[in-house]
Amino acid sequence: MKIKVLAVILCIGLVGCTTVSPGGYYWGKYSYTYHDLLKNPGETTRAAHEATLKDIITKSKEKDLRTPPGIHAELGNLLSDADKNDEAVAQYQAERDLYPESAIFLQRLLVKPKTGAEE
């Protein structure tokens, strides 16, 4: 317990705590804000998750890390839901540049940019 507290203090004190995962990615609060969004879907949880995605992209750039799989695409999808189509396309492009195997999937998202408009 003491060690844990010490480690946390040390971590905050030293680098503001940008933890890098074993795979070499920075994930921020990803699991937490996505879990909140799944549990209580709404404007607040959506905005919090969007903030997490943006934080991951910014910090990854700062730390010279590859943005984790799916993050640009997920942000693009949220932007597309908010009718910010140009910004959405830019995010999809960023995802495809980093991960070419996402191309077919992203094409599918581009074909149907108006999500949920059918109902």
Binding site: M1, Y30, Y32, G70, E74, E101, F105
Partner: protein, 227 residues
Amino acid sequence: MKLISTIALVFLISACAEVETKGQAFPKMYSETDKPVSIVVVPAINNSTAADAANLVNSTLTIPFADNGYYVLPVSIVSDIFRREGLIEGSQITGIPLSMFKTSFGADSVLYITINKWDTNYIVLAANVTVGMSYVLRSTTDSAVLWSYDQEIVVDTSGDSTGFLLADIIKTAVTTAMTDYIPIARQVNATAVATMPYGKYHPLNNTDAGAKVVLKKSKEKALAPAG
């Protein structure tokens, strides 16, 4: 003497648990033609009594599989697509032919997850969660099983003792009510992923075929029909 006990120990381990190398256990993960790069995760099938278990698992899955070197298609977008098609539960999606995930998502493999147990136990001075999960990764080219794992693990959630009985009882009750289950879900996923060969984006890709893993019949269990 030491040698004999070592031999005896090795014999004992091999008798009760299946120790294989990753290459022996999952040969297709080392074949140039069969090894997947991308994974579609089907929303977890929750057979446990905990309502939030599926959300906990779905929100913590991407990280370990991506960290292991795979391209995980964004779970949130994929599940939105399923939802729009009227497929909400993972069990409704298991019937979809695997080749569909290749043609419409461009994915090499599909990961199916079943939560068999998520039981919170509170025993006055201690608290823990027993989690049973199975993972099966299948190829979208020929439906073959590429990797699988089945586990039941107990995670302690009671924290450290304060040294005072009454304080401990109160502390256990409080921590059980406020337990942060995300690190627990992460720990469960990490244990499973540790047996999985590294993928394209991991620096040790294609170098871990000789790594030993203890599978304890978990492969067979993962493939057994649920029920």
